[in-house]
Symmetry: C2
Subunit: 427 residues, 2 copies
């Protein structure tokens, strides 16, 4: 019997879990991803704040699947799906036929129609994004040491984080903490209190997906770390020097965009209904309506449940991957599939180095204990990857010494940046 061919688009948590669960299934898998690595997204912000290196949070897909013989990896991008012919079209102009198609392409930052903000306010989705943020941050500190104009200095030392979800909270908390503990030691001449971190969110509270009591706790913790939190505040404009929000102009050297996402554009070519953030409205078995051999997973799927649509978190992605793997492995026909059930193991967000909030079942906790749970879970996850020893050592070192070793600048040069930003040569 001819083995079924499974095309998997995206090697994030959903795609990776699915492929791993199909290890012993009698299928041939082609995994297509435009990057050559799986990214441990929940720790990416640590690369952006120079606490970890890219190699600590990413592993080449070929390394992960070195011993799995039924998977072929393609470094390519799916540009369109042709469901009538059961084919996907790749950027390289190749075409792949499929018996099963699993779309898990993830999402990207959404600027709500203001795509020109992207250059000034990068999101935090890829290693390149994290390195960009990291290098901008380091450059701003170096430049602050050189300028004589106090306004320019203040601008350089101000970072605005847009979006009060987990990513925004984690970035803002880490940046504020590093300012306190670290910057003064390494950048003599900059005082900790000169460094401003402003966190802006359009909603009434931070971490809207969490219980209100943890949102309050987060707000307190962030304020204690020195973060200026602006709630109910919308960003009106971002230009080269400033963020304009709630009628105020905040001059900023660095802006991080963590305010919203839009699912990958390729989903449009599936020719089925999308929600307002571009996700595919899937059936209860995560297939697309009327086509039981095409699935959409993770951040790209919109699944209605009694508690609203499922959030774009790693847990949902992994569980959706494992669920669909079972269907494919046993070739279960559409009418005999049990609906996907998400088991919520809880959600958490860290705030700086030793604080977090966690919501696990009915448990709502904050502070160091929540952080310890967070650290444990994340290290445990990393155990599937080889970098675990290194990451743990890094963390221990970082924790003990407050010494970020990853603070390397190797793509930008200060004078290039300067030329662009200080055209009149005041320095």
């Amino acid at each position: 019997m001819k083995r079924a061919r499974v095309v998997v688009v995206g090697g994030g948590f959903a795609g990776l879990t699915l492929v791993q669960k199909l290890k012993d299934a009698p299928v041939d898998i082609v995994l297509v991803d435009k990057s050559n690595h799986h990214l441990f997204q929940p720790l990416l912000y640590q690369v952006a704040v120079a606490a970890l290196s890219p190699g600590d949070v990413a592993t080449p897909l070929r390394t992960i699947f070195r011993r799995q013989n039924n998977v072929e990896i393609r470094l390519d991008e799916v540009v369109a799906v042709d469901r009538s012919r059961r084919e996907v079209h790749l950027r390289s102009r190749e075409t792949l036929g499929y018996d099963w198609l699993v779309m898990a392409p993830g999402n990207e930052p959404s600027y709500f129609g203001n795509d020109h903000w992207r250059e000034m306010a990068p999101g935090l989705k890829t290693i390149e994004d994290a390195l960009t943020l990291r290098e901008k941050q380091i450059l701003a500190l170096e430049m602050a040491l050189c300028v004589s104009d106090p306004h320019e200095r203040k601008r350089l030392l101000t970072t605005v984080v847009v979006g009060g979800g987990p990513t925004g909270v984690e970035m803002a908390g880490s940046l504020a903490e590093i300012a306190r503990k670290n910057v003064e030691k390494d950048f003599r001449g900059i005082r900790a209190e000169e460094i401003r971190v402003v966190l802006i969110d359009g909603g009434e509270r931070l971490l809207a997906g969490f219980p209100e009591e943890l949102s309050m706790r987060t707000l307190e913790d962030l304020r204690e770390l020195g973060v200026e939190v602006r709630l109910n505040t919308r960003v009106d404009k971002i230009d080269e020097d400033s963020v304009w929000a709630g009628g105020e102009q905040i001059a900023a050297g660095n802006v991080v965009w963590a305010a919203g996402n839009i699912a990958a554009p390729v989903l449009k070519t599936l020719d089925c209904e999308l929600d307002r953030v571009g996700r595919v409205k899937v059936e209860k078995d995560l297939s697309i309506p009327g086509d039981g051999r095409v699935f959409v997973l993770g951040d790209a799927m919109c699944l209605e449940t009694e508690n609203g649509t499922l959030p774009g978190v790693a847990q949902v992605a992994m569980q959706s991957g494992a669920y669909v793997a079972e269907i494919i492995k046993d070739n279960i026909p559409g009418d005999r599939r049990k609906p996907f059930k998400y088991f919520d193991k809880g959600s958490m967000a860290t705030i700086g180095r030793a604080r977090a909030v966690a919501h696990i079942g009915k448990l709502k906790i904050g502070g160091f204990f929540a952080w310890a749970i967070w650290a444990l879970i994340h290290v445990a996850f990393l155990i599937q990857f080889r970098s675990r020893v290194r990451v743990m050592l890094e963390w221990m070192w970082y924790y003990l010494t407050f010494s970020p070793g990853a603070r390397l600048l190797y793509r930008y040069r200060i004078f290039r940046e300067r030329k662009r930003r200080v055209p009149n040569g005041s320095i």
Copy 2:
């Protein structure tokens, strides 16, 4: 009494050693470097072959000098020296006055008048260079899996290394060894013997700075690893697809330039005699003729000795830095300075994972024993930096598992590259 101001240009081995030795001296030091880190250059090729990560071979200068209070670090570039006013001009348009000036700006690849070769054949001087080579190498492997044309496949799997000095030998040996041990496992569909590494040198033997018997040994070792070595061969032309050398066209997906260096151009502004590779001809105390308060160190200096001019190696750089630190610390006048004496502790080069050649005094050794000495010395050097534990673990891991963890691609995308390189879309 006013403290003397020492301006140090370059945070390589020479500049770093000098500043460290001036730790307790009653001087104010300004260290100017255009990158924010010290680079452990002898291991940079390991980043290029994806065995180590950037953070393993580089440490931020601010971290190194965190506890040294008499040094200020400037991320900037010296564009000119004005000796008559005792000032240096920076790229940022600032000017720094000095009482002592130490120029240790290093060198850069020299293309012998063919600067347009640079794009196709990057050198190996900076972390960015190493990442460029690494990503080109990984991309070529990924692309080879996609092309159907056998000539294109052969081209993609061919790497040409130009220059048979230590860097060229180390690159060629590592690449050949990785091809053998590693590539087949991770890139199913590519056979080890398809991967070609060609090492080209214009001279009669490899490692011209070593005794002839070690050159022979190196040649044998490299050939055993599968490297095609072409001696007495000059490169005539490098274009987008090929290297033309000795009348032959070698279609190559990747070219590494390790053939020659030229000292940093800023040295021209010192207004004194340079040798043919742009180095400053210094006096016996490493000062420039007629100006005992300006020194040139490391790869930028040309010092005649009875055995010819000193080579551009880390040992020379470090010893020159330590020597000049003594002069500055004790403010020794020109006529009372003992001439600089280089103590040659030996030189070595690795060939692949467990072979090396070493020349230490009268000792000439090769093979595993030489490699063990090499590894020991290099790990010992790294001990001054925080990354030592991590580097050792990495090495052990790499050595035991043949699994390079640093094989991440995060700056280039394959389809961008493809577009440029396969304009007619044959794939």
